[in-house]
């Protein structure tokens, strides 16, 4: 197996050829935060939290979608990176309606964890308090747009793993929101198999099971990676 060696934060690491920079930073034990990235799903580089500095590139590169290359010298926690990460998390909190105390995902929320990791104890930017709705039309699950950070994990897991493509993104800019089917109530979308994968991968409390209440959501975001590797390795008899 071809191997690439690169240097992350002063530490030499080896990763298999074809690995992403994110995998290289993990090999070095550098804790690069991610929100939109999820192992098993295609990278979209939307949350911009995994940006790292690569010497000689002149700009910040998203670790999730940048291929590791031989001899790269990578820095993951420079003062500039810490500052822009914190600011990105502030922007996430300010643009939605994130109220941890009453959220199903409290204590199991990746946004909350990221805020702690980057040291965001308050937002310097004013909260926008947008008017957003809740879609409770599905018999088993609920979508609360107030908590959505538009990571598009649900869109990708439904398209790439489940193959149903129920979710998409509608509108643009600050009006962006997740749409089910042809912008219908989720419960009316016949393509939905009610598999619940979108709920498992949602990093916040935007998608949750109706049986969960405050701080009870315990998602398992490892599902896409397991299913994808099973598919790639043809572990199922009917393949």
């Amino acid at each position: 197996m071809a191997v690439l060696t690169l240097n992350v934060n002063g530490q030499d690491v080896a990763v298999p050829a074809g690995a992403s920079l994110l995998e290289a930073t993990r090999a070095a034990g550098a804790d690069v935060p991610t929100l939109c990235h999820l192992d098993g799903l295609s990278p979209v580089s939307a949350c911009r939290l995994c940006l790292v500095e690569v010497e000689g590139s002149g700009k910040l590169l998203p670790a999730c979608s940048t291929a590791a290359a031989e001899g790269m010298v990578v820095h993951t926690h420079t003062p500039q990176l810490r500052e822009v990460r914190r600011m990105a998390v502030e922007l996430f909190f300010a643009e939605g309606n994130h109220v941890c105390a009453v959220c199903v995902a409290n204590t199991h929320c990746e946004l909350q964890d990221t805020a702690v990791a980057v040291g965001m104890d308050h937002s310097r930017f004013p909260y926008q308090y947008p008017q957003r709705s809740v879609d409770a039309s599905h018999p088993q699950f609920t979508l609360d747009h107030n908590r959505c950070i538009l990571c598009s994990r649900c869109v990708r897991v439904c398209d790439e793993i489940e193959g149903a493509h129920v979710w998409d993104i509608g509108s643009r800019g600050g009006q962006c929101h997740i749409v089910a089917g042809l912008d219908e109530p989720w419960g009316q979308v016949q393509a939905c198999t009610s598999c619940g994968k979108c709920v498992e991968v949602c990093p916040t409390g935007a998608l949750f099971r109706n049986t969960d209440t405050t701080a009870e959501k315990q998602p398992d975001a490892s599902l896409p990676a397991l299913l994808r590797s099973a598919r790639d390795q043809r572990r199922w008899h009917n393949q």
Partner: protein, 541 residues
């Protein structure tokens, strides 16, 4: 036999909105009246005659020379016809007497607006009838395509383009020859050419004018490019806001197909090319190449991380050459005159000519094509004629919402890619808005930020949420309730959005703020609730 006289009437969008259609109808009616004399007069609809602000424009070609008239009302059609058919030539357009019915409508073709221009891309604009392929052929369109197909190999074409030093005219200035090579050298398989005609910058109308005035030249340029990179299929992505450009382009494509200048076995060679028009749906971000390609494929136009670059993996995963209208349109002239000829114009790193759309507080609004490296002052003060009331220019905005404001004291900067970047602005696609002393810079910045808020696709958080916060911060300055902390926040957030956004739209969205903060910081300081506090805070940026 009296010599023939030709009236060229501008039929591009700018003059149309100034009433050119009514004027042309009146001219045609008046022309019917005088009898045998009229037979030597032809009226020809043409594209942009460039001095758009004085429309509707009519050029009168007589043996003695050409005269240009602007702002004529349909009632003056008779006077114009009489003038055109007058025997004495009258072409010297001497001091117009009080009795001259056309006084005040004569435009000076020898004046700096036209004299300092160097039409290459705009060579056929205002000369050919954009709706007639015969006229385009008579003007020389498609001659280079034929020569290229019959005499040159794709490598030779690419060599010529590389030699010319042409750089992408969409704004980023990537070397065109290098891009063509990258596409051509991909592994064998299908490939595509795409023309980016999604000209969305406020104040930019170069590409529209080319599409409306000389569509065959663009088609020829694309066909040459397709031959050079080995593509057999291509798309022109035009924004829906350009209905006339779409109509004329579609007609031109249809005409080219019927003359076998597109299709299979063009000029009897094995070269095939299918070109189609794709119409955008109103998203500015679809001018970003990866979003544009997704839109052509019927998907939501959202920028994708690069690499892979479209040259490696574009439409349906195939290598795709994507260039701007102006880039493709420059190609036929480059092949006709040679790459050396093109490279002889311009500066060391920016070769050739560039078309600018000049507007704002300026006497002569319109299209300007000048060699690269022309000082900005020449463009806005000499060609443009400065601010109408004679007051000094305060700043020039280039590059639309991605560019910045260049202050009056830097007007001697030569216009090229690097110099503009150094000043914190950018070439952009070529919109140039002149601002007079009455313009408030924080308001300009807020205007452009509002544009970016509306046009952000919403994919990445710095652009989606950051521009909203920036616009609100700018509101505080415009409404004079900003604090020293707002100044720091504005500066820090601008730098964050610039450094971390996914695509060019987000990365350049703070430019109008950053450039005005750099050159007009005192206006922001004065816009604070307690100006003195803001001044003392200083030191940011």
């Amino acid at each position: 036999m009296p010599s023939p006289v030709q009236l060229r009437c501008c039929e591009a969008s700018g003059c149309r909105s100034a009433g050119s259609q009514a004027l042309r109808t009146a001219l045609e009616d008046a022309c019917g009246a005088p009898g045998p004399e009229a037979s030597r007069l032809t009226i020809k609809p043409v594209g942009c005659l460039r001095q758009c602000g004085s429309g509707p424009l009519v050029a009168c070609d007589r043996p003695g020379g050409t005269q240009l008239f602007g702002g004529l009302a349909p009632e003056q059609a008779g006077a114009l016809i009489a003038e055109a058919l007058a025997d004495d030539g009258g072409g010297n357009a001497g001091p117009s007497s009080a009795a001259d019915p056309l006084a005040g409508h004569r435009l000076d073709l020898e004046g700096p607006f036209f004299a300092l221009q160097r039409p290459v891309v705009l060579e056929g604009c205002g000369q050919v009838n954009p709706e007639s392929i015969d006229d385009a052929l008579a003007f020389g369109s498609y001659a280079q395509l034929q020569r290229v197909l019959q005499e040159l190999t794709p490598e030779q074409v690419r060599d010529e383009v590389r030699l010319s030093g042409l750089r992408g005219r969409g704004g980023a200035g990537y070397p065109t020859g290098l891009k063509w090579d990258t596409v051509a050298l991909q592994p064998p398989g299908p490939r595509y050419v795409v023309c980016n005609a999604d000209e969305g910058d406020p104040g930019a109308f170069m590409d529209r004018s080319v599409l409306e005035s000389d569509p065959h030249r663009l088609i020829e340029g694309m066909a040459i490019a397709a031959y050079a990179v080995g593509a057999e299929r291509g798309f022109v992505y035009v924004r829906a806001e350009y209905p006339l450009a779409i109509e004329r382009l579609r007609l031109a494509l249809q005409q080219a197909r019927s003359r076998h200048l597109l299709g299979n076995h063009i000029h009897g060679t094995p070269f095939n090319l299918r070109l189609e028009v794709r119409v955008g749906a109103g998203a500015y971000v679809c001018g970003e190449e990866t979003a544009l390609l997704l839109s052509i494929q019927g998907q939501r136009g959202m920028p994708q991380p690069r690499p892979p670059f479209p040259a490696q993996s574009g439409l349906w995963g195939a290598p795709t050459l994507i260039n701007n209208v102006e880039t493709f349109t420059a190609v036929p002239a480059i092949l006709r005159q040679g790459g050396d000829w093109y490279a002889a114009m311009g500066t060391e790193h920016s070769k050739g000519t560039k078309v600018f759309a000049l507007s704002g507080a300026v006497v002569n609004t319109g299209l300007v094509e000048v060699p690269m490296g022309t000082p900005l002052r020449t463009v806005v003060e000499v060609i443009g004629g400065g601010v109408p009331d004679g007051s000094p220019i305060k700043a020039v905005q280039t590059g639309g919402p991605s560019g910045g404001c260049i202050p009056a004291e830097r007007l001697d900067t030569p216009v090229d890619y690097e110099s503009l970047l150094e000043l914190g602005s950018m070439m952009g696609s070529g919109g140039m808005v002149v601002m007079g002393s009455g313009t408030s810079m924080p308001e300009v910045a807020r205007h452009f930020m509002g544009f970016s808020v509306n046009e952000s696709c919403g994919k990445c958080v710095p652009c989606r949420a950051g521009t909203v916060q920036l616009a609100q911060l700018l509101d505080r300055f415009v409404e004079r309730r900003a604090t020293p902390e707002d100044m720091e926040r504005l500066d820090a957030l601008c730098r964050m959005v610039k450094a971390t956004s996914l695509c060019g739209l987000g990365q350049s969205a703070p430019n109008p703020v950053l450039s005005t903060l750099r050159w007009f910081r005192h206006e922001y300081e004065a816009a604070c609730r307690e100006p003195t506090l803001c001044v003392s805070s200083g030191g940011v940026g």
